[in-house]
């Protein structure tokens, strides 16, 4: 292996790539060549580093200097200054706010400082396309250990002792799940990795697969040995082309090294893996629908029992875990259950990866210990709300999660605490909302998504979500009555209790939690015909304050329906009948004369 004095770890996750990471990489290569530094400086395209908001990002090792928002035109200067003359470039470093001094080292940045990396341990550190780099970082050592030293029962007892719970959302104890599958007697058993991450705004699983695909393979191999499975599937969304490519490449590399196939590590253990791509149905993330889809049938859930551990793929015992769960497994084996269970809360051990998105300064992917408060995630790591706006709520757990208000921000994140607040852990989406978000409209948005994604098999989910959506349409369009609210709550409970699968039974969560914490907003829509956040078009009106209007004509020029009239330097007026409430005038007015009421 070539030794270089400097390694440039350039993030090549989906976020950074779409911001031009590959162009930056090519330009870096050219510049480094131009300065004859190719023997001294090497470039490594890593998986997602997590700080997507600041992409493309790059870490310079061994000094640990973090560069952000790189562009092609800044590269020549950077290469010359830092890599030739040894003077780190301050302008490309992270600053918390304008005027504050730059923070040169990655580990000193607030966004990274509070994180504990287990599932994402190799993110931004290794080239995900090179199996040797994974192996150099203790990769496949856990697999070697179990095959040489441990019986399947011992592996299961380690996982049970670690307290690891399913990271796909439901939080079922992983060790127990494995034990059920182990106990099912059968000639053929299957292992499945659920990588059908469908929550809008969630990208934990994608990032793990892109940044460290071998950690998932190793976890699956350990699981396969523990339950006695010889075949496995990775069910991954077609919408994740980079992740699909990397996992396929990882499988090929593992096969070449004899880490997949027959007699792995010389032990009496055979395992082969196949990738199955999902066609983008959200419901296929539900395990029974996922299995139906792998079998080539319509992706529709079926009732449980029988659970997959008894009868899964083609009737064989099957164990399904999510990407993040699998990537935790090798570390638990290597560092021990006691170490893992020392992190977290009494009921939820270890760490959880969250994708922090929405109205938050530092959008990105974070891995934090269980028991951290929401406040710390959103304000310390996430950097708070941009534009000096007020925090309103955070939705945890994706579209069927719940909205948690400000007075519950000190809630310590674990499965139970979130459930108590009416939300769910889900797969780890965190959508932050500020004062400009209408909670009724938000509930309607998520409901519309789930209505669209419902498979339509059972009555409560198919018919119920449709009717809840209708009621919310009525409320947001000014036709709501207080009877609607009673009906909505009753219907939400029916759907929650009666649905066949978790899609239906969690779908009412956004409605139920917003009714619980933001009932006043529903009541304002109904009783006052007013949308407090100024979002619901049917309930807002735009008008121009003649006192404040300077007659600059900016609003008149921008109005798409020409409904603003007025002479230059005279107060303007909006014709409410022709106004389509697009808000363009409101945005363009420099004098705060366009009022939204």
């Amino acid at each position: 292996m070539k030794t270089c004095r400097t390694h440039l770890l350039l993030c090549a996750g989906t976020g950074c790539v779409s911001n031009g990471a590959f162009e930056v990489m090519r330009s870096l290569e050219e510049e480094i060549k131009r300065h004859n530094l190719t023997e001294e400086v090497s470039i490594v395209a890593t998986g997602c580093n997590g700080f997507c908001e600041r992409g493309p990002t790059m870490v310079v090792q061994p000094d640990g200097i973090f560069y952000q928002r790189l562009t092609v035109d800044k590269v020549p200067h950077l290469v010359e200054e830092h890599f030739l003359k040894g003077r780190p470039v301050k302008e490309l470093m992270y600053t918390e706010a304008k005027g504050r001094p730059p923070v040169p080292r990655m580990n000193d940045i607030e966004f990274f400082r509070h994180q504990v990396l287990i599932a994402l341990r190799n993110r931004g550190r290794i080239d995900p396309e090179k199996i040797d780099e994974y192996i150099a970082n203790d990769g496949y050592a856990g697999l070697a250990r179990i095959l040489k030293e441990m019986s399947p029962e011992e592996v299961i007892s380690q996982i049970k002792k670690s307290g690891l719970r399913g990271r796909g959302g439901a939080g079922f104890p992983t060790g127990m799940k494995w034990e059920f599958a182990r106990r099912s007697a059968a000639d053929l058993k299957y292992i499945v990795c659920n990588a059908d991450e469908g929550d809008p705004g969630a990208f934990m699983d994608r990032s793990i697969l892109e940044a460290d695909p071998h950690s998932v393979l190793e976890g699956m191999l350990i699981g396969a040995y523990a339950i006695g499975a010889s075949r496995g599937f990775i069910y991954i969304r077609e919408e994740y082309p980079l992740a699909v490519e990397r996992i396929k490449r990882a499988i090929r590399a593992a096969e070449e090294y004899g880490l997949l196939g027959e007699r792995i590590f010389g032990a009496a253990f055979d395992f082969s893996l196949r990738v199955v791509r999902g066609a983008g149905a959200f419901v296929c993330g539900e395990e029974t629908a996922l299995m139906a889809s792998i079998e080539g049938k319509m992706g529709r859930p079926r009732p449980r029992p029988p659970f997959p551990a008894e009868s899964g793929l083609w009737g064989c015992p099957t164990n399904i875990n999510n990407v993040e769960t699998w990537s935790n497994v090798p570390v638990i084996i290597l560092r021990g259950a006691d170490w893992y269970s020392s992190i977290g809360t009494p009921s939820s051990k270890g760490t959880k990866v969250f994708s922090v998105v929405g109205k938050v300064e530092n959008t990105g992917l974070v891995e934090v210990p269980m028991g951290i408060t929401l406040r710390k995630i959103i304000f310390d790591i996430g950097g708070g709300i941009p534009g000096g706006k007020r925090f309103k709520a955070v939705q945890t757990g994706g579209p069927s999660g719940g909205c948690i208000p400000e007075n519950k921000l000190d809630l310590e994140v674990d499965y139970e605490q979130l459930a108590e607040a009416g939300a769910i852990m889900g797969s780890g989406g965190l959508i932050v909302m500020d004062e400009d978000t209408c909670m009724v409209d938000l509930a309607r948005y998520f409901l519309a998504f789930l209505e669209d994604e419902s498979c339509g098999k059972c009555v409560p989910c198919r018919e119920g979500l449709q009717r809840m959506h209708e009621i919310l349409d009525d409320i947001t369009e000014g036709r709501g009555t207080m009877d609607h609210l009673v009906l909505l709550e009753r219907l939400a409970n029916t759907v929650k209790k009666a649905s066949l699968c978790a899609l239906g039974s969690t779908a009412p969560n956004p409605v139920l939690t917003t009714l619980r914490y933001f009932r006043d907003e529903y009541e304002s829509h109904i009783n006052e015909g007013r949308c407090p956040a100024g979002v619901c078009k049917a309930l807002i009106r735009f008008s121009i304050d003649p006192e404040a209007c300077t007659g600059c004509t900016a609003c008149r020029k921008v109005c798409p329906t020409d409904c603003i009239a007025g002479e230059r330097k005279q107060p303007h007026k909006i014709d409410p009948d022709r106004c389509i409430k697009c808000g363009a005038c409101h945005e363009v007015c420099k004098f705060n004369a366009v009022r939204k009421t």
């Binding site: 009732p303 029992p305 339509g456 059972c458 009555v459 119920g464 009717r467 209708e470 009666a498």
Partner: protein, 228 residues
Amino acid sequence: MMTIKLKIDKQDIEVPEGTTILEAARMLGIRIPTLCHHEALKPYGACRICLVEVRAGTARASTLVASCVFPVRQGLEVTTDSDEIREVRAGLLELLLARCPGSRQIRELAGEFGVHETPYTPRDHLCILCGLCVRVCDEIVGARAIDFSFRGQALDVKPPLLTPAGTCIACGTCTTVCPTEAVKLEEIARVPYGHAVSETHPGERCRVCGTHPTKPEFPANYDDWFPK
């Protein structure tokens, strides 16, 4: 074979392993309403009308499960009628009544749970998408002439690829199992309902019952039903 002891509505019963709660309740003469269930077909669990409360062993809280698909377990305590169950069933029937206001069967069942009108905007379906016709055509007749197409709100029963199915033998079994009379034999022949036979396919008798038509009023010669 192992037998399982459980309690349904405070009555003790012992049944073979693998029996569903619904079957066990029926052995005791306890009526649980169903829409998507048929003794001759595999359980499906989609209409959710047959929900009952179960409590296992030491568990404090009970949960609602669909009795048609839930297998009995040792020591299970089942309640088939309670305020909560009636409320959820009524909620489901309000939804179904809104979907199929014209269905006599849905109206009658809804009436039993005190639902005489629906709070939602009515639609004009007859089909409740219970899947009985689809399943009987697959599991009993073996023709697989119809299946579900699309998803969610758009879910519908159609012949494969939305074209008349050459495998339909016009046995009419789908019409006999339909709980809401949404499938009519005339329509099987005439295409509009969707699951239609090919016009050139000769009518056949049911492979299972063989000798006689599924309903006495059905014509001996199915060719009569095809448009000329």
